[in-house]
């Protein structure tokens, strides 16, 4: 069922199936003309998770439905928002044990880790 969880909030945040969160800074979305995150959030030509309500992104499904796999975690919302929107989307995808591993090999890495 459709739920508008956006209105009156500064941050729209929801969990995804693989273990992680997607957070959208609604304050930035108010000034966004493209709503690129919503445009990219499609499957087979139809809308998937995100919708626009009163000028800002909202969720088409319940939080439980999205966490169960409604969001296909394509990462398009974050990447397209970065290019065409207001850099309002942050997808956080933790990896258990990875930070500890990085610290253990930090001296050996080819690349620099921020």
């Amino acid at each position: 069922m459709r739920e508008n969880r956006t209105l009156g909030k500064k941050l729209l945040e929801f969990k995804v199936r693989s273990g992680g969160t997607i957070a959208i800074d609604i304050q930035r979305c108010i000034e966004c003309e493209t709503k690129a995150c919503v445009k990219v959030c499609t499957i087979q030509g139809g809308p998937l998770v995100l919708d626009v309500e009163q000028q800002v992104p909202s969720l088409r499904w319940s939080l439980a439905e999205i966490e169960r796999g409604g969001c296909v975690e394509c990462l398009g919302c974050e990447l397209d928002c970065e290019l065409y929107g207001k850099r309002a989307v942050q997808v956080n995808l933790p990896l258990a044990g990875f930070d500890e591993y990085l610290r253990s090999v930090a001296e050996l890495l080819v690349y620099q880790v921020d």
């Binding site: 273990g19 290019l83 990085l102």
Partner: protein, 423 residues
């Protein structure tokens, strides 16, 4: 597959009423001494590592008294068996063996059924025996709807000469229990090598239990932390991290194994280590076949298949690039229905987080070949995000072959080296 250590397999054997020697798992000398006091001499001390032929490699020792135990245990706990460090030992009673028999249950691909295999001559070098004297191996193909019954096992054992009717019945019951274990725990292989005929009983002296990695989620009680097969060694830290990617999410798969975790093989053969990811295991092997003759050795095998979500590609790309010492990265997709724009998004997000200052452009030679569904979208995404324009990046399309991809990488690596590439 997820392979259990001997003592873990024997623990399951006990639950299925397969007799095993009295034994205890120890990790310190004091524990070994306490086990010896409890069990009594003579004892067998066995290194718990994922390696076969342990007896030939010093991983199994017989001790007859305290002095021999006190000298053997510290040595075994500080040494390696076939290159594998030993931190756990199994201390067991020594069984007086009259005769050894091999018993195993595995999946037969041609008949698509479980097959029970028995060898009355024991199981020393059983793989070689299967090749050289296949008649020595007795087989019974099991209809899983009908099951394995004691009379099936007795019929099979009629061809094994020199065992008494009591022993035959005891072995038949073990075979049925092993088959039940194989089915209950979704095994790929359940093996007793050897099953010993002792003076007054039959007893499983060793165990091998391999669980189907696709069924690990159904075997929560076994506490298997790593489903991915990593050969005859335990999983590395990075493999355990990668193994967690599929835990909560079955939308596509990520298979990651470190082929040469410490780069020892690569250094010994004077080759160049690179990070590696392919869509499809067949494409991975074909790509390796082209890279290795050019002097590039993938430090990891990685296959991202089954149309994985973008977040899986993000996570595995972070992992691949975190391997110390790599002098490049190759990604190649087989021509499949995998949605490559999602694949590209995962890679792009990972690169942008790793190479923050350059906006996602790697500082090591990187070749990405997108071939298949949504490949043009994938390439456009890399261009739009500015990664394709990187000095050390080449993006190829569906006209690329494994060979042209390898040659493109080799040329880019030469250029990178000439420019004073790091490492």
């Amino acid at each position: 597959m997820a392979r259990l250590l001997e003592y873990q397999g024997k623990d399951i054997f006990s639950r299925f009423k397969i007799p095993t020697p009295k034994g205890k798992v120890v990790r310190r000398l004091e524990e070994a001494k306490a086990a010896a006091d409890d069990i009594g001499y003579p004892l067998v001390v066995k290194a718990q590592v994922y390696a076969g032929k342990r007896a030939k490699s010093g991983g199994i020792r017989i001790v007859n008294d305290d002095n021999e135990l006190l000298s053997a245990v510290p040595v075994m706990l500080s040494s390696t068996v076939r290159g594998l460090p030993t931190d756990t030992l199994l201390v067991e009673e020594k069984v007086d063996v009259k005769r050894e028999i091999y018993v195993g249950v595995t999946a037969d691909p041609s008949s698509r059924t479980p097959v029970v295999i028995v060898c009355g001559e024991g199981g020393v070098d059983i793989e070689e025996m299967a090749q050289q004297r296949p008649d020595a191996l007795l087989k019974f193909y099991v209809d899983i709807l009908r099951g394995m019954h004691v009379y099936d096992a007795l019929n099979l054992l009629r061809s094994v000469p020199g065992i008494s009717s009591q022993e035959r019945l005891a072995v038949a019951r073990v075979i049925c229990s092993l088959y039940a274990l194989y089915r209950h725990h979704d095994c790929k292989l359940a093996e007793i090598n050897p099953l010993a005929l002792a003076t007054d009983r039959v007893v499983a002296l060793d165990s091998r239990v391999d669980i189907d990695d696709d069924a690990v989620s159904r075997q929560a009680g076994l506490n298997i932390e790593m489903a991915e097969e990593a050969g005859n060694r335990s999983a590395t830290v990075l493999e355990r991290v990668a193994g967690s990617i599929d835990h909560n999410d079955h939308r596509g798969t990520v298979h990651f194994v470190q082929i040469d975790p410490d780069l020892s093989y690569i250094r010994e053969h004077n080759m160049t280590p690179i990070g590696f990811d392919c869509v499809g295991a067949g494409a991975s092997l074909a790509m390796m076949d082209e890279l290795v003759p050019l002097g590039f050795y993938p430090v990891d095998f990685c296959d991202t298949s089954g149309n994985p979500v973008g977040s899986k590609l993000y996570r595995i790309t972070r992992i691949i690039f975190s391997q110390p010492g790599i002098e490049g990265y190759v990604f190649l997709s087989c021509i499949s229905s995998q949605q490559l724009d999602n694949t590209a998004r995962g890679i792009i997000k990972a690169l942008k987080e790793i190479y923050v200052e350059s906006g996602g452009q790697p500082n090591i030679p990187s070749v990405l070949a997108f071939r298949g569904a949504w490949d043009e979208d994938a390439i456009k995404l890399l261009a739009d995000h500015g990664i394709m324009g990187g000095r050390w990046v080449r993006v190829l399309g569906r006209d690329a072959t494994e060979r042209s991809t390898a040659e493109t990488f080799a040329a880019l690596h030469r250029e990178w080296k000439a420019a004073g590439g790091r490492c």
